[in-house]
Structure formats: structure tokens, C-alpha cells
Amino acid sequence: MTTISAATSDVQPALGAPVYELTHVSKTYARNRVIALDDVSLTLRKGSFSSVIGSSGCGKSTLLKIMAGLIPPTKGRVVLQGKPVTGTRRDIGMMFQQATLFPWRTTIENIVLPIEIRDGRAAAEKAKEKARALLDIVGLNGFEDVFPNELSGGMAQRASICRMLITEPAVLLLDEPFSALDELSRDMMNMELQRICTEQNATAFLVTHSIQEAVILSDDIYVMKPRPGRLAEVVTVDLPRPRTLDMMTTPKFGETVNYIRGLLDKGEAM
């Protein structure tokens, strides 16, 4: 069922070349001397889908921010597509835990904002067509010209995923993108996410609290443990692609979920 390897050794899934390489990344927040990350090494391969799972406060968002080049690690190296990450990069699409839509822009204007910043207003105007298509995918058609104040939390999250997707980034860093969605919409969105990643051959890295979500989407699941935040295990999910929601009823799925739950329980006991 699951191939389990030690945290620091490389997992070698049958996928493309390494895209992301993190070597011995540590992060200590100077302000409160919290060791948020302790010696994290991982390799993401082109087109792979990986998830991070772990209890609240174990450093998942910190890891994502370091990968995105938003905050520097205290120690260690992050390499993206052969180049060290020393700041934010345009080939990275990041989705934060909070939707963060700007209230003075309509939904569609929020979605084309990355294009506006990269290529100017005219390009943003042209991108609206594509934005509408994306809104349609996430079930928000008809909300183009609505201001974010009038969107629910889940709708705002869906809009912000459109904003991330509009630039077709090669790497997607997702911090609990669907935490405000009900289970059915969430399943639906997860399948769309898989489809989009496959279509664009994008590499995805997802932070989640849902074991089911991690298993149905991922090739590799990184299980983190808190205080100090570190990688405990990498679980490779041995389910065929493309994944379907039906797979959630298979014994293999159940076994994998239970295995990860066991790992997390052990983490709690520590």
C-alpha cells in the first residue's frame, strides 16, 4: 500500500525532473524564539502533487512562505527550477489561508489583478474572458461584478483560487485553499484542482488539515510534527491517476487514511 521512507531521504516517484529542492531548511522566528521549522528537506518533481499535513502551529504556513520566497529561512537552501529562491518569483502561484480580496475591486477585477500588475491594464482587460471561464469552473458565474463584501467566505476562497490560476503558474503553493467550503463543494473543487494541475502540468504543494483531501489529491504526503516543526514521514499514495471521488470508498484509500491518522496521533502524544 504505502511506501514509507525516512524524512530526509529523497522519495523518487516516477515523475519529471526536480522542480523544488529544499535542503536542511530551518526557521526560527526571532521575535518569540519559536523554532517553526527544524531541518526540513524535500524534493518536489515536475507535475507532482504533494500535501503537507500536521497539527495547527507545526509550521506548515511557514514552510510555504519560505518556498514562495516571502520570508528567508534561518538556515538552509531553497532551489526552484535550478535557481535559488531569494525572493518572490513570478512562476509561483500562491494561495494564502485567508482569501484577501480587495474590497474596492469587483470579483473579476480582483481575479485579473496579477495580470494587471504583470502586463498592465490592457492585458488585464483581455484576461477577463479567461477569468470568466475560471469563475465558471469554480461555480461563481454571475458574480463577476459583485464586490467581495457580498461574497461568503467560501465564495471568496474560490475567487482567490481563480486569481492564482489566471497566470498559469508552474508551481502552485496552496495554504488550506478550501477550508471555508462545505464538504461537497470541497470535493468538487479538489477534482477541478487536479484537472487544472494535470492540464497545465503544474507542480502543486498543498497544506491541508483534511487527511482525506490529502490522500485523494496527492502523490506524496508530508506528515509534519510540531515543536519543533519537522517532517516526520513521507507517505506515497499508491492510487492510480486520474483520481476520482469513487476512490474514496476503496480499501486502499481507507488504509492510507488510517495510516496517516496513526502517524498524527503519535504526534499528539508527544
Binding site: 516571502l70 518572490t88 500562491m94 494564502f96 480587495f102 500588475i117
Partner: protein
Amino acid sequence: MSDANLNTDENVTPDTVWVEHTSFVDQIPRSILMLFVFAVFVGLWQIATSFNLVSSIVLPTPVETFNDMIFVGKNLLTGDYMLSALWITTKEVIYGFALAMAIGFSLGILVGETAFGERAIMPYLVALDTMPKVAFAPLFIAWLGFGIESKVALAAFIATFPIVVGTAAGLHATDENSRMLFKTMGASRLQTLFKMKLPMGLPQIFTGLKIGAVGVMAGAITAEFLGGGKGFGELIRVAASQLNTPRVFSLILYLSILGLGLYALVTFAQRRIVFWHRDTVSK
């Protein structure tokens, strides 16, 4: 099902239904409430004067004041000397406010956006701000003369500080997430400023503008009191020196229309521009 249905439903005992109750005062139109307060105020005023509680030189009767207001009103409407005085003061206020906005936004951005501005310039601004700014009036008059320039200068001087503080506070009001989002989108510093920080800081900026709009009036009139000229403040000063208190009262009332007008203009702009902000919407 709507509340109305619930209330008329016979199966529901009325005292178990939770309905929104509006208080008695909430049900009266605002204009009537304001009229009521006005009537009480004028009534008390009338009592104070007709029982000679205060001398009529100190406080004219409401009727005297009203008559004088009609006189001044006629003068204004016929385009007589009072209108040109009001126009001069209006110009001072408008120029002063425009100048205060230009300086206020520039300094505010400098102070709110650059570390140098915040650390090296802000302390001086704070020190200046704590000074009684009308004390600078004689200086402005000495530098710029008795014309409109010295009035504009003092008006702008007083109104600039709240605009600087509002702009700087507005630029600091951005949250961590928005900043990170703009970073990941690869936004330049100017893009971050104009597409995120400034719009996000508009509520604070408008608070500064409103305080500035009040200050600019005070500055113009103070400078007119101290530096003469042909404005409305001069009319008030002359009327007061002649112990013509009804005239002083009515001039002040007409002057307040100018102040209210400027304030209303800023509030109107705020409602149009910062339409998404809760405080703006509820007012």
C-alpha cells in the same frame, strides 16, 4: 418563512416571538428630532434674553438675530460687499485646502512609505503638530503681507498635519496578507503603493481630510482676525468692535454654511470613493 408570517401565525404565542423592536426615538424622523432640539434651544435663548438674564449687548434676542440674518442674507443675495467678503474667504479656504492636500499627501506618503521619512521626518512633524499653530499667524502675515496669501498659508498650515497623519496611518493600515499577496504577484513598490496601500488607507486618509477641512476654516478666519484684509472674518471683527452682536451672530451662522459645505463635500467624496468601508456605508 418571513417574520411577518411568523407573527400572524395563530399557533405561535405572541410573547414567544422574537421581533426587532425599534425604540420610540428611532421611529421619529431625524429632521423632526433636530427641529425639536432647535426649538428648545431658541426657546431657552428667548427666555434668557426676555427676562434680562444677560445684557442684550452680550446676547441679542433671537428676533434681533433673525432680523439681522435677513439683512445679511439680502446683502449676500444682491451681491453687495458681504458677498465679495464671503467669496474672498471661500477662496482662502479652497486654496488653503488644496495646498494642504498637496503637501499633506506628499509628506504623508514620504513619512508612511519610506523608513527615512518615518524615522527622520515624522518626529519633526509631531513636534510641529503639538505647537499652537495659530501662533504662527503673525509670521505668515509678516512674510506674505495682509492679502489673501497669508490667510491661505495659515489655513493650509493648520490643515496639513491631520492630512499627513491620516495618510501615513492609512499607508500603515495594510495587513500582512495583502502585502505578501502583492509580493507574490511581483508588484513593484509603486504598484503596491497605488494599487494596494493607498486604496486600503483611504478610510484613514478621509478622516484626516475631514479634520483638515475643519482646521482650514479656523485657520483662514484666525488669519483674517489678525491680518485684516477684506474677508468675512474682517466683517465679524468690525461688527464685534462696534458691539453689534446680532451682526456677529448672523455672520458666524452664514460662515458656518461655508464650513459645512466643505465638510459635506469631503463626506460626499468619501462616500463615493470609499464605498466599501463599513463606517462610510452606515453613515
